[in-house]
Every structure is written in structure tokens, then in C-alpha cells.
Amino acid sequence: MATHFVVEGLKATIEGKEILKGIDIEIKGGEIHAIMGPNGTGKSTLASALMGHPKYEVTDGKVSLDGEDVLEMAVDERARAGLFLAMQYPSEIAGVTNSDFLRSAINARRGEGNEVSLIKFIRQMEGKMKELEMNPEFAHRYLNEGFSGGEKKRNEILQMLLLDPKIVVLDEIDSGLDIDALRIVANGVNAMRSEERGFLIITHYQRLLNYITPDYVHVMMQGRIVKSGGPELAERLERDGYDWVKEELGIVDETVGQEA
């Protein structure tokens, strides 16, 4: 069955403050959607709420992946169902090596009795690390500990490549990346494009979209998607900024949940 991810009327709060005020988005396998918008408009909250971060409470709406109710699932179940979030700020975990972590994650996905053999795993991991131009030493380093910002982002992409998800959410994957790293990350994403997989790319800047061409672009303000279009929308935002959108829609303060 082709991948089908549907978000309907999603509302979410953090510490009682409503950040998402009804998000609708539909992603089919093979599609790349970009969510753009200034800081503080709820983009990262959307990513976290979809993954099930415990700090965010979903108060209304529905999320389904291939007909299954995502909001009913625990975080790990969402991941095993095929949802992947490349995080803006990945955790550092001392004492757990990157390769032990990756193997645990792959095996969790594959299920008991169907674990990947060590040799096959190492071959896969090393192959993907090479594609991402990662130093092989990173396999044996503790998970994200002491990684630079760019190294952490590459490590997120490495996980994406190895876990073979159905829906990939990239939360500001481009922040803190120099141009070479950006190209490598984009190549990783492009290599993963397929009819079975959908992408939701959350970004502040258009520059990532120079490397990954989205099918749909959505602008987020005040916790809602206020405008949608094709790749040309991203280009206009890059050229003209967000003010024209605000003007067009009569928005004065685009942020959400941030009391002055």
C-alpha cells in the first residue's frame, strides 16, 4: 500500500499554552512537503507533537499513517510504524556508542527473532557513513557526545538512512550546517526519495530547498498553515521575505505562544 500520512485539525499545547491551532496536511508516498515560516510560529512544535514528545499535549485533531491512528501510539510505536523525526537538537547520551544505539534501533524496528546480523549491520552502517562522508570513528563514539552541530545533523541523517522510514520529518536539519554539510545532507535525503516514502521538511530558510525540490510548500504563522503552494512559493519567500504574506493576510504578529 502506498504511504499515506494525514494530519487533520491538529491542536497542541505546551504547559497549557496552545501552540498548534489546527494543522491540516496530507502527505502521500513520493511527495516532499516543506513547511516554512519565521521563528516562533509553531513549526518545531508540529514536529515534536507528531513524534509524541512528552512535553506537548495534543488537545484535538487526528493523525494517521496508512490508516493507523498515530496519536494512540507511544513514541517508540510511532517510530516502528514508520515515522522518523530528524531532530533539531538531538540528545547526547554518554556511555552508549553510536553503533550500539543504531543496532538497537534497527533491531527494534525489525522485531524479536529477526535481528540484523552483526556483520551485515556493520557493513550497512559503514556504507552509509561513507555516503555521508562521516569519519568511521564516529561509530564508536558515544551517541552525539561532543559532536559538533553539523556532525549531529549528519548522524540524524545516518539514522534516517538505516531505519528506512515511511514518513520523514526533518526539523531544521539545515540549521548550523555549512554549505558542504548541507549538500551531503541533501544528497542523503534525495537518495531516499521513493514512491513509498513521504517527507516533511521544516525549515526557516529556503537554501535547503535549493538542493531538495519540494512538491508542496506551506507557510506557517500563528500556529496554523496560512498559505500553501508549489516550489515557486519558496522562491518568492527567499526573495521577498515573509512580510508580504503577513500583509496579504492581515497578520501583525506571526508568532504563537510568546507573550511579550
Binding site: A74, D76, I93, A94, V96, F101, A108, Q159
Partner: protein, 433 residues
């Protein structure tokens, strides 16, 4: 206020038992004097642990005669030993050594490895000059009681320039709650020798309470190198009290690897006296507490020697209602110039009712030194759990990874693979996984 101490045995009785066991007069006298001291001395004062409220009355019944070595391994210890032709092993069962073996090769080099009671008879002068000189009976009631009542034990002597490649092992097993269980470990590593010693304290099932009141004294002579690994895995009914101490001469080193895996209350001290110039001490302790355990673990280094160096790491995981007081004490005496002492104590609490207290203490009387400490007490980080779960890893498995990750800096540094695996297994069991 000194409370009236009820002695576990009368001095006259202790004297006649010692004599009838054929112990030399100095030892009989040492035991009886220590017992008299026990009646007068107070319990040790511990940081934040009220040991005076503990039930420390069950020292067991002192054995009246000394049975011969049976050379039979008691049941239940098979998983701890891997007996080969060249094994070096001592097994103490309750109050008595039952099995000792030393490879012919090491014996030929002059290595002595036998139970301490035998050593008293066969190597009297050697034992006499070291016994109770590091853990002294006059310190407190518990050290006095230990000196009065010790039994079985280990004597390891490594002559000058002898390097022993394979670890020497001992096992202390208690499975009788009425037995007196107080092994004493005495190790002398002569100049430029090298040896690794590993011991396990284990218990079978029994009703009734037991106090294990033990001691280890390690003498590391100039240029010698001793690795001392100890895993305590005593059951819930057993209170474990142990002083592990070493004195380290010029350019000598001691490495402590300690696994505190008991199920009952415990107090331990692991001390290195860095007497010599250029002496080194490295102490690694991992501890897991569960149930309603009360634990007090101290690592300590006292620097006298110039350019002496001490490293101490303790990592403790506390679950359920366990309480741990973790003390790290670095003491640098006047004159110990260029000394360096580093210590880290970290406690990870897995439940809201678990308690942990990490106390780094630096006592420095010399200006020209370096010393550092780090301590932390915390819960499992929920962001980390979320991150791992977001990759499909279950909550249980995520917690497990984080706990092992927490212990990894100590466990992965353990130089003996078998011990590393054993500790890993014990940690798993203690964590109920």
C-alpha cells in the same frame, strides 16, 4: 555516650579457641586484646549514615575447631570459577577455607597463595609483620571485632621482581546464618612485582541475619603493581562491612576495581595511602542499590609522596527505595608536592523514592598540588528517553541503554574481561532485567 557492647564471644572463650586451634601466642593475644578493645570502642562515625541504628549483633558463632581443608568445592560456586590445571584459587565456606590451589609454576617462583590461617602457621613471621597494621583494631568497634574474630582469609605474597600474568582468585561463600564470617585478605607485593587478585563475596539462601565484617590489607612495595578487584554480592539478610586499604611505596601502583552488588545494607571504604614518591592509585567503583538498601561507600586517597597521583571514579545506580551515600576523599598532606588527585562520584536514581548523595571532599595541606572533583546526582533524563524511543527503542530498552551508558566509563575500563562480563551480568540481575 558509649552503649554497653554485647560481645559475640567471651574473651576467655576466644582465648581457649585460639589456643586449641594451634594459633601462635601473639595471635591469641592480638585477638583477645582486640576483643577487649571492641567492648570499649564506639562504632565508626560515618558521613550521613546512622550505623548506630543498624542491627550489628549477628556476628555468628565462632568456630571452635579448625577443620582440615576438604579440597571440595561447595555447591553454587561453579559459575564463579573456571578451574584449569594452572588455576590459583582459594575458597572459603562460612568460617573456614575449604579449597586452596596454586599452580606449581607460581609456587616455584616463591609466590605464596593460601588461606590466612594456614599462612599464620607456615609463614608466621611474614604474616605477623603486616597483619592489622593498615586496618588497626584500635580504630573503632568494628575493626576491633574484625581483628578478634577474623577467620579463613587469604594470604598472597609475591616476591621481588616476580610478575604474575594470570589473576589469582578467591571466593568467600556464606550459606549458614549461624556461622561467623569474617575473612581477612592480606597481600604483600614485593618490589617490582606485579599481580592481579580478584575476589567474590557470595551468599546462599538462609534465614536469619548475618553481619560480614571483613578487611583487606594490601602492601605494594617500590615499583610493584597490584590490581585488586572485588565483587560483593551478598544477600538481603547480610550486612556487609568492609575496609579495603593499601599502602603504596615509591613508583608503585594499586588499581582497585570494586563492584558493590549486595542486596543488603553495606558500608565500604576503599583507601590508598600513597606513601611513596611517584606512587599511583586508581579506584573504580560501580554500585547498584535496590529495595530498601542503605549504602555508604567511601573511596579515599591520602597523599604523602611527592608527585603521587590518585584517580577515583564511583558510579552508582539506585532503584526502588535504596539510599546511597557516596563519599570521595582526597587528602594531600604537607610535603606531597606535585601530587595530583582527581575524583568523580555520580549517582543515577531510577525511582522517585531512591536517594543518592555524592560528597566530594578535598583536604589539602600543600600548595603545590593539583586536585579536582566532580559529583552529580540525578534522575534518568527524559529527553534522552524520548530521543531513543523516537528511533523505535522501547522505554525499557531505552532506560537500560542509559543505565549501562552511565556505568560504561567504569565497566569498559575493567582490564579483566571475565570480571567485566560478570559485573555486567550482576548489574542486569540487580536491575531486574
Amino acid at each position: 555516650m558509649t552503649t554497653q557492647t554485647v560481645l559475640p564471644v567471651e574473651p576467655d572463650t576466644l582465648q581457649s579457641i585460639s589456643v586449641s586451634n594451634g594459633e601462635p601466642a601473639w595471635l591469641t593475644e592480638s585477638r583477645v586484646n582486640a576483643l577487649r578493645l571492641a567492648a570499649e570502642l564506639d562504632l565508626p562515625k560515618l558521613e550521613k549514615t546512622k550505623i548506630d541504628r543498624w542491627d550489628l549483633s549477628n556476628f555468628g558463632t565462632i568456630r571452635t575447631e579448625r577443620p582440615a581443608l576438604t579440597q571440595q568445592l561447595p555447591e553454587g560456586i561453579a559459575s564463579f570459577v573456571d578451574l584449569k590445571e594452572d588455576s590459583n584459587l582459594i575458597v572459603q565456606h562460612n568460617s573456614t577455607a575449604v579449597y586452596t590451589t596454586l599452580s606449581a609454576e607460581l609456587a616455584a617462583k616463591g609466590v605464596i597463595f593460601t588461606d590466612l590461617e594456614t599462612a599464620v602457621r607456615e609463614h608466621e613471621d611474614l604474616v605477623k609483620s603486616y597483619l592489622h597494621t593498615l586496618v588497626k583494631p584500635e580504630e573503632n568497634r568494628l575493626t576491633a571485632l574484625h581483628a578478634a574474630l577474623w577467620n579463613g582469609g587469604v594470604f598472597l605474597y609475591v616476591p621481588k621482581n616476580v610478575e604474575v600474568d594470570i589473576p589469582l582468585q578467591s571466593i568467600f561463600l556464606i550459606d549458614d546464618a549461624t556461622a561467623s564470617f569474617a575473612p581477612h585478605v592480606l597481600i604483600v607485593a614485593e618490589a617490582n612485582s606485579r599481580v592481579t587478585y580478584v575476589d567474590n563475596y557470595i551468599s546462599g539462601q538462609y534465614d536469619g541475619k548475618v553481619v560480614h565484617n571483613g578487611a583487606a590489607e594490601v602492601f605494594v612495595k617500590a615499583g610493584a603493581k597490584v590490581q585488586f578487584a572485588s565483587v560483593h554480592n551478598l544477600n538481603e539478610q547480610t550486612t556487609d562491612l568492609i575496609n579495603r586499604r593499601s599502602v603504596v611505596d615509591n613508583d608503585a601502583s594499586i588499581e582497585w576495581i570494586v563492584g558493590e552488588m549486595n542486596a543488603g545494607d553495606a558500608v565500604s571504604e576503599t583507601l590508598s595511602v600513597l606513601q611513596g614518591n611517584g606512587s599511583l592509585s586508581d579506584a573504580k567503583v560501580i554500585a547498584v542499590g535496590s529495595g530498601s538498601q542503605k549504602l555508604n561507600y567511601t573511596t579515599k586517597a591520602v597523599h604523602f609522596g611527592k608527585s603521587s597521583d590518585s584517580q577515583m571514579i564511583t558510579r552508582a545506580v539506585m532503584r526502588e527505595q535504596a539510599t546511597a551515600i557516596i563519599n570521595g576523599i582526597t587528602k594531600i598532606e604537607k610535603g606531597a608536592t606535585k601530587a595530583n588527585g582527581e575524583q568523580t562520584e555520580k549517582v543515577l536514581m531510577l525511582s522517585p523514592k531512591a536517594r543518592g548523595d555524592a560528597n566530594p571532599i578535598l583536604l589539602i595541606d600543600e600548595d603545590d598540588v593539583k586536585a579536582g572533583h566532580a559529583a552529580s546526582v540525578g534522575q534518568v533524563n527524559q529527553e534522552q528517553i524520548y530521543y531513543l524511543m523516537s528511533r523505535g527503542i522501547s522505554r525499557e530498552q531505552a532506560e537500560r541503554l542509559i543505565i549501562y551508558g552511565f556505568l560504561a566509563p567504569v565497566v569498559s575500563d575493567i582490564p579483566l574481561e571475565q570480571l567485566q562480563q560478570q559485573l555486567q551480568g550482576l548489574v542486569e540481575r540487580k536491575l531486574g532485567q
